[in-house]
Symmetry: C2
Subunit: 103 residues, 2 copies
DNA sequence: CAAAGTACTTTGTATTTCAAAGTAAATATA
DNA sequence: TATATTTACTTTGAAATACAAAGTACTTTG
């Protein structure tokens, strides 16, 4: 039983927006909705659904509070999310055996 | 005008099957349908549509011939595909500040 | 107080993915 | 020799996904 050449890519992470969200949250530990919207360059609706998916998977946590009188959603990564992110990166590497080649 | 933190991921490549196909074709220069099916661990129908997409984008070339009496589809990567693959990897790196290491 | 803005969420549509079924020819079986 | 099975794909329809327009619930501004 030879091991698979290509490791499967976690579908929860394999999306540009969700990958970007996790990348931010690994770097900063906490980010609000608007910050994530700017970083990921997506629309409100799109970000909202992607965040919901990440939360549902237990990869991030969302805290709803208020900044002054306005609602504020703050996201942070959970252990499960960190692990999944690492595994995703590891899986990705199986698709790039040579590492980085110049274009 | 500060550059985007995250570079966009080419949607033609951002699919597990198509990424695997390109990865194979970069390594071996030519691969037939069945070999790709084995490597990518997907179904006939699925592979067929993914290959069509890659060909349509000008990333790969498909040659139809015969091996003995049976049809044989042979795929190879084109320059445009190589470039796109490199750019995809480069874009990916923007999501992993720590870097993607060769396996 | 009406109009515009903020911070989201919900919803409908468009796109994408995927595998079941279809096709066509070759080969094995009875 | 009929027929069933296999091989090598492609087409098609259904399910999942992505996306943004519209909706909600406020707040701020003119």
């Amino acid at each position: 039983m030879t091991p698979d050449r290509f490791e499967p890519l976690d579908p929860v992470i394999h999306s540009q927006v969700r990958l970007a969200v996790l990348s931010v949250l690994i770097a900063v530990k906490e980010a609000d909705f608007n910050y994530l919207k700017k970083e990921t360059e997506t629309t409100d609706g799109n970000l909202s659904t992607h965040l919901a998916k990440l939360e549902e998977a237990g990869y991030i946590r969302m805290k709803k509070s208020f900044r002054g009188k306005k609602p504020l959603t703050t996201c942070s990564i959970m252990e499960k999310g960190k692990t999944a992110f690492s595994l995703y990166l590891k899986a990705l590497e199986s698709y790039f055996p040579g590492g980085i080649k110049p274009v």
